[in-house]
Amino acid sequence: MQAERGVMADERAYRRGEPVALFVPCFVDIFAPKAAIATVELLERLGVSVSYPQQQTCCGQPAHSAGFRPQACALAERFARTFAAYEWIITMSGSCAAMARAGFAESGASDSAVAIGARVFDLASFLTDALGVTDVGARFPHAVTYHEGCHARRILESGDAPLRLLRAVRDITLVELPAAEECCGFGGGFSVEFDRISASMGEAKCANALSTGAQYLVSGDPSCLLHLDGLVRKSGAPLATLHLAQVLAAT
C-alpha cells in the first residue's frame, strides 16, 4: 500500500511529546471552524497536543492556481516563517497540504520554505502513517460515503488512509461512492469562472453520493465540501456534508 507515495514519501514516525502545529486554512477558519475544532479535539484525545501559530493566514494556493506566482511565493515564504519552529504541521485540508508539499516549489519559493512545506501533513496521513493509528476510538452511527479530493488523491497520493480510518469507526455504515475518482468541480477560481461546468460536475458528485443512500458526504477536503454543500443546500437534497475530522472526533 505504501509503495509509491509521491510527495508524501515521508517515513517519519511521530514520537510522543514532539511539538505539533495546526495549520487552519483561511476559508476553514471562517466557514468551517468545526472541522478545525474537531481536529484539535481528535488529536488531543490521541495524546497529541497542538499549537496554533497566531501569525498564520493562507498557504497561497488561490494565487498559485490563478497563475500569480510571485504572490503565491510570498505567501509560501510567510507560511514558512510562521511554521519554521515546527517539525510537524498538520492541516485538515488535503489541497492545502498538496500546495505546501508540491506547490511551494512550483511557485519558486526558497529551499528552506520548500523544506518546511514538506513537513505539512493532511490529517488522515498523519494519523495512519506518522501516528500509526487507524482506530481513533470514534463512534458514528450513520451511513457515510467518502469523497477524496483530487489533490489528496493525485498529489499527496494519500491512498486509502481516510477509508481505513473510517472503517475502524464504530457503528458506521460506510458506503462506496460511485465514480469516486471524478473531480467534484470546485477548482478554486474555476468554480466561479466556469460556474456552469463546475456546478454540473458537483451535481454529478452529489447524485452519486445520493445514490448510495448515505446521510453524510464526508471529505478530508473542506474546499470540495464548501462547493458541494452549496449545491446540496440550494437543491434541498437529503444529504449533509461533513469533514472527516468531525466523524473521527465523534464518540
Binding site: V24, C26, F27, D29, I30, F31, A32, P33, K34, A36, I37, Y52, Q54, T57, C58, G60, P62, A63, H64, S65, A66, G67, F68, R69, Q71, A74, L75, R78, E106, C150, H151, R153, R154, I155, E182, C183, G185, F186, G187, G188, G189, F190, S191, V192, E193, F194, D195, R196, I197, S198, A199, S200, M201, G202, L226, D229, G230, L231, R233, K234
Partner: protein
Amino acid sequence: MTAHYDRARVAHDLRSPHAAPVIASSMQRSLEHKRAAQAHVAWAALRAQAHALKKDAIEHLDSLLSEFERNFIARGGTVVWARTAAEAAERFIRICADGGADSVVKGKSMLSEELELNDRLAAAGIAAVETDLGEYIVQLAGQRPTHVIAPAAHLSRQDVGRIFERELNMPYCDDPRTLSLAARAKLRSRYLKAGVGMTGVNFAIAETGTLVVVENEGNGGLSASAPPIHIAIMGIEKVIRRVADLDVFLPLLARAGTGQKITTYTHHFLGPEPGKQQYCIIVDAGRTNLLADPVLRESLYCIRCGACMNVCPVYRRAGGGAYGWVYPGPIGAVITGTMLDTPEASDLPYASTLCGACKEECPVAIDLPRQLLHLRASAVESGASGGGLERGAIRRFTAAMSDTKSYARAVSFLRAALAIGGALPIRVGAMGRWMRARALPKPARQSFREWWAQRP
C-alpha cells in the same frame, strides 16, 4: 493565424455544459476499455519507457529528423520541409498539380486539420474526400472533428443517419452497419480515381526511414497504396529513434486510444512501389515554439491517443468543439496558444480544475497540470490573461493574507459582504456566479481563531 481562433466564442462555449450526453457516456466507455486493456501489461513500466523514449527523441530532434530524411530518401521517397501550415498546404497542392491529380483520398490526420487542407485543396480545384468513417461523417456534415481519434464523437447514430439521408440521398436509417456499408460503397470508387492518397504518420523511424501508420478501418492502407502518389504528412515530433521502440509505443497507443491490444492495421511504409511516388511533408507549424519552452517541451511527447480528453470532466461537458482550434481537451488547452503563437488563447489553460486526471491517464506521462499552471503564470506575467479571476481580486486577496491585521479586516468584510450579498435581489460578479447553482457559504459566528483565543 489568429483569424482561426475566436476568443469570445471559446470563452462562451467552454463555459457551457452543452455537449451531447452521448459524449460523456462514450468517453467513459473508452476509458473503461483503456483501463481493462492496460491491466494485462506492465502499464507503469511501459509508460515510463515511453516517456523516456519520447524525451530522448525530442531532445535529439535535429539529428533524428536528419537521419530519418537520409533513410527515407535512400528508400526512394521525397522529403519536403514546411515551416508553416500554409507552406505545407502549398507544397501539398504543388505535388498534386505536378502529378496531375484532381482528387485526393485522405486517411485520418489531425495535422491535416491544422493545415485546413480540405479547404485549401478545394480552393485549388482539387476534391478531397476523407476516408476514415468518422472524418467522412464530419466532412459530409460540414463540421470539424471534436476528438483526436473519434472525430464524430459528438454525433449520435441518429445524427449520422440524418446526415447520410441529406448528403448521400439515401433513406434515413440509424443502423451503424448499414451506414458504414453506405459510406464504403461511396468511398470505393474514390480510391481508384484519386491521383493522390494522403495519410498522417504515427511514428517516423529514424534508423530505417520508414513510416508507421496505425488504423482500424483499412482506409489508411488503401489511401496510401491505391493512388499513384502517396503523400504522408507529419509534425516534426513524430520521429522516433528505432524500430524496436514500437514494442513500447504500439501496445501503449492502441490501449490508451481505444482499449485495443493492438490496432487492426499497423502499416510500415517502406518507400514507393515501382512506378509510384512517396512524399513525406515534415511540418513545424508552431511545434518549435513548444520545443523552445523548457516546460511545454514535454507536450511534444504526445502520441495523440485522446485519453486526456476522454477522462477530462470539462471536455466531457463542454465538448471538443468548444476549444476553438484543432486539438481539444487538456492537451489542446496546453498547446493551442503556443502553437498558434497568440495571446488570444491564453484563457484556455484556465478551463481546468487541475484535478490531474489527465496526467494520470496519459500513456506517456505528460505532466499536463504542471503545464497548465505554467501557462497561467505566463499569461498573468505577460498580461495576456487576468488570472481566471479578476487581477484585482487576486491582488486584494494576497494583500489581505499578508498579515493578521489585514486578514482580520478581510474576514469582517467577507462576513458583511456575504450577509448583504445573500440578501440582495440582484446577483453580480463572482458571488452571483457562485449563487447560480449554489447557496452561499455561511461564515461561522465564531471563527476558529476566535475559538482558539478564548479557549481556557
